[in-house]
C-alpha cells in the first residue's frame, strides 16, 4: 500500500509518468490495430513491431518541440503519435488510402510524413538517417531556427559508414543533432556481440565527441530525462547521443517466430515491458489502477476509431503513381 507523497517533485514525476504512460499506451494501441490488420492480411506488407520499445520512443518524442525535426526508425509507431501525428493519416498509409500521409502511396510505416510536425520521413535503407539528420540540423543552425534534428536507429544501423561520416561532420560543425540508438541487441537474427564485437554502441559516439548518455530504455522517466538533457546539449551546439538499452519483445517483423532466439530471453524481455513498468511505478506513486485502465481503454478506442476513418477513405487510382515525382 503506497500513499501519495506530498512532495512536489514526486507529484511532477507522477504527472510526467502519466503523460508518458498515455503516449506509450497510444503507440501500443495503434500497433495492436496494425498487428490485427497484418494477421487478417488487410495489410500485406512488412510491419516491424515496436513492442518493448514504445516507452523510449514516447519518452524522447514528448521531449521534442513540435517543430523539432524527427527521422524515425522502422521499429514501431510510437515515435509518430508521440510527436503529434494524426493516427488516421498513419493508418491511411497502412491501408494504402488517400487519408494516408502519402496520399495512397503507402502502405506501411516506412514513409509516413508530417512536415508541419517536423516528421520528415524515413528511408528504406537503414543508417540513411545520419546524413539526413545532419543536413536538417545544418539548415536549422544556418537559419537560426533553434530546432534539433532527432534521428532514431537500431544498434544494427549504427554500424553503417554513414554514422562515422555524419558524426565527424556534426561534431566539426556543432550541429544540433540528437541521435537515439535503440539497442535491443538484435539486428534481425544477428546478435550484436556476434557481429559488432561489443554490446555497447555509445563509446563510438563518445569517441566522435558527442555528448553521450546510456540509459535503461525500459524506464520511461530515465529516458525522458536523458532526452531533455540531450536536446539541451544539441540546442547548444553539441551533438548528442543516447543509447537506450531496450528489448525487442516480438520478431523482426510480424510473423517472425524468432527461432534464432532463446525462449528464456524473450520471456525475460516480456517482464521488462515499458508500459507494465511505467504502470507499476505509477501505482507506487499512488495512482489508481482504474485511471491506468481508463488510459489504455481510451487509447484503444481512439485507434479503433482512427482505423475506421482510415479504412473508409478512398483508394487512389492508377494515375496516382505519376503524381509527385517532380516539384
Amino acid at each position: 500500500m503506497t500513499t501519495m507523497s506530498p512532495d512536489a517533485g514526486l507529484t511532477k514525476q507522477r504527472e510526467t509518468l502519466l503523460r508518458l504512460y498515455r503516449e506509450t499506451a497510444r503507440g501500443r494501441a495503434l500497433e495492436d490495430v496494425v498487428n490485427q490488420l497484418a494477421q487478417t492480411r488487410t495489410f500485406r506488407g512488412f510491419f516491424h513491431p515496436g513492442r518493448g520499445q514504445e516507452g523510449l520512443q514516447a519518452a524522447v518524442c514528448t521531449a521534442l518541440n513540435v517543430d523539432d525535426y524527427l527521422l524515425y526508425a522502422h521499429r514501431g509507431l510510437t515515435y509518430l503519435t508521440a510527436k503529434g501525428m494524426d493516427p488516421v493519416s498513419i493508418l491511411g498509409d497502412f491501408h494504402g488510402r488517400l487519408a494516408g500521409s502519402t496520399r495512397g502511396l503507402g502502405a506501411g510505416t516506412v514513409h509516413c510524413v508530417d512536415p508541419a510536425r517536423g516528421i520528415m520521413g524515413q528511408g528504406g535503407t537503414l543508417g540513411s538517417c545520419f546524413p539526413l539528420s545532419a543536413g536538417l540540423a545544418l539548415a536549422s543552425k544556418t537559419k537560426g531556427e533553434g530546432k534539433v534534428a532527432a534521428a532514431f536507429f537500431g544498434e544494427g544501423a549504427s554500424a553503417r559508414g554513414t554514422f562515422l561520416e555524419s558524426g565527424v561532420t556534426a561534431k566539426a560543425w556543432g550541429l544540433p543533432v540528437v541521435w537515439i540508438c535503440e539497442n535491443n541487441g538484435w539486428a534481425v537474427s544477428a546478435r550484436v556481440q556476434d557481429v559488432q564485437g561489443t554490446a555497447d554502441i555509445a563509446p563510438r559516439a563518445a569517441a566522435l565527441g558527442f555528448h553521450t548518455q546510456v540509459v535503461d530504455g525500459q524506464d520511461v522517466l530515465a529516458v525522458h530525462e536523458a532526452a531533455i538533457e540531450a536536446i539541451r546539449q544539441a540546442r547548444g551546439g553539441v551533438p548528442a547521443f543516447i543509447e537506450a538499452k531496450t528489448e525487442r519483445i516480438e520478431g523482426h517483423f510480424t510473423g517472425d517466430m524468432q527461432p534464432y532466439r532463446d525462449r528464456d530471453e524473450v520471456a525475460a524481455a516480456k517482464t521488462r515491458d515499458p508500459l507494465l513498468l511505467a504502470g507499476q511505478r505509477l501505482v507506487e506513486l499512488g495512482e489508481d489502477t482504474a485511471v491506468l485502465d481508463d488510459i489504455r481503454e481510451q487509447a484503444r478506442a481512439e485507434m479503433n476509431a482512427a482505423d475506421e476513418a482510415a479504412r473508409t477513405s478512398p483508394l487512389p487510382d492508377g494515375t496516382r503513381i505519376h503524381e509527385g515525382v517532380w516539384a
Partner: protein
C-alpha cells in the same frame, strides 16, 4: 551588360557567386571548396567573400555531402554540393540514387529538395578508371533527378543558375576537358538557360549528330571537315538529359533523315541507347539509315595518358561514321 569571353570554369564560379549573392539559402559544401577554392579552382574567392558557413569544407565524406545536402534541402536551404569527381557520386550511391531521387516521391510528393550536386566528369589528365567517368546514364536511369550536361561557358553558367533555382534535385555534370575553354558569357545575373530546351549548335542538311558536354566541340570539328566533302551536319545539343528535348532532335532528324548519337560515356547501356531507341520508335518513317551510336569504349579507363584518347570518340572516328551514314 557586355558579354565577354571567360572560361567554362570561371562561368561556373560566376554562377555560384551570383546565386549566393542573390539568395542567402544557397551554400556550397564539398572537399576543398573553401580555403583552397576547389581542386580545379572553380570556387576561388567564394570562401573569402561569403565565409566558412556558406562555403563549407568537409572531410572525405561523400555519404554526408550528398545525404547532408538532401537533409539541408529538406530543411529549407539550397545546397550546392560538390563531389570532387563524378565517379565519387557512386560512393554516395544510397544518398544519390535513393535519398536525393526518391525522398520526395516516397513521402507522397509533399516534400521538396532544391539541391544541386556538381559532378566534374570526363577523361583528362591520366587520372584513371575511378576519376574519369561520365556517369550521367546511371542517373538518367533513376527517376527523380534532373541532369544538366553543359557544353559551353554560357550554358555552364545559365544551366547552373537554373539548377540552383530549381525545386528539384539536379546533378550538374561539368566536363573537366572543358574547364579552360573560353566563350562569351552574359554578365546579366538574370540570364538563365532553361532545362529541357536543346540547342542546334550547327545547322545542316544531311546528318544529325546529338551530342552534349565535351562531345559537342568534337562534333563541330568533325562537321567542319565534312563540310569540305559537301556533307552537311546538324548538331543538336540537348543541354539537359532530364528533361530531354526530344522535339528538337525530332525536328532535326525529320530534316536530315540520319542520326548519330555521340557521347563520352561507355557505349553499352549508355545514354545513347535511350536516344537511339526513341528515335527508332518515334522517327522510324523519317529515317533513311540505321541510327548510329559512337561512344566511349567498353573498358575501364587506363591511367596512361597516351591511351586515354582511345577511350572516347575522336574527331576522325566521328568523320568516318558520319561519312558512312551519309552514303545511305
Amino acid at each position: 551588360m557586355s558579354d565577354k569571353p571567360i572560361t567554362y570554369a570561371w562561368a561556373i564560379n560566376h554562377a555560384l557567386d551570383e546565386e549566393m549573392q542573390r539568395d542567402p539559402d544557397v551554400f556550397l559544401m564539398g572537399q576543398d571548396v573553401g580555403r583552397m577554392g576547389g581542386v580545379f579552382g572553380l570556387t576561388r574567392g567564394l570562401h573569402d567573400k561569403f565565409g566558412g558557413e556558406r562555403v563549407r569544407d568537409v572531410s572525405i565524406v561523400e555519404h554526408l555531402v550528398v545525404g547532408g545536402a538532401v537533409g539541408a534541402a529538406l530543411g529549407g536551404l539550397r545546397p550546392v554540393a560538390e563531389v570532387q569527381f563524378a565517379d565519387f557520386l557512386l560512393l554516395a550511391g544510397d544518398e544519390s540514387f535513393h535519398k536525393m531521387a526518391k525522398w520526395r516521391y516516397m513521402h507522397g510528393g509533399i516534400l521538396t529538395l532544391p539541391m544541386v550536386v556538381r559532378a566534374p566528369c570526363g577523361i583528362q589528365g591520366g587520372v584513371g578508371a575511378e576519376h574519369s567517368q561520365s556517369p550521367e546514364g546511371h542517373y538518367w536511369h533513376t527517376p527523380g533527378i534532373k541532369i544538366a550536361v553543359p557544353s559551353t561557358p554560357a550554358d555552364a553558367k545559365g544551366l547552373l543558375k537554373s539548377a540552383i533555382r530549381d525545386d528539384n534535385p539536379v546533378i550538374y555534370f561539368e566536363n573537366r576537358r572543358l574547364y579552360r575553354v573560353k566563350g562569351e558569357v552574359s554578365a546579366d545575373p538574370e540570364l538563365l538557360v532553361p532545362f529541357g530546351q536543346g540547342k542546334v549548335r550547327r545547322v545542316g542538311r544531311d546528318v544529325t549528330i546529338v551530342a552534349w558536354s565535351a562531345m559537342v566541340d568534337a562534333a563541330l570539328e568533325a562537321a567542319e571537315i565534312l563540310e569540305r566533302e559537301e556533307i552537311s551536319v546538324e548538331i543538336v545539343d540537348p543541354r539537359t538529359l532530364v528533361p530531354f528535348d526530344m522535339e528538337t532532335v525530332s525536328t532535326s532528324v525529320r530534316k536530315t533523315s540520319r542520326l548519330l548519337v555521340l557521347h563520352e560515356a561507355s557505349l553499352t547501356m549508355g545514354p545513347g541507347a535511350e536516344i537511339a531507341a526513341r528515335a527508332a520508335d518515334e522517327l522510324f518513317e523519317h529515317l533513311d539509315a540505321p541510327v548510329k551510336r559512337l561512344a566511349g569504349t567498353d573498358n575501364p579507363i587506363p591511367q596512361n595518358m597516351a591511351l586515354e584518347q582511345f577511350c572516347y570518340p575522336q574527331t576522325d572516328q566521328i568523320v568516318s561514321t558520319v561519312r558512312d551514314l551519309a552514303k545511305w
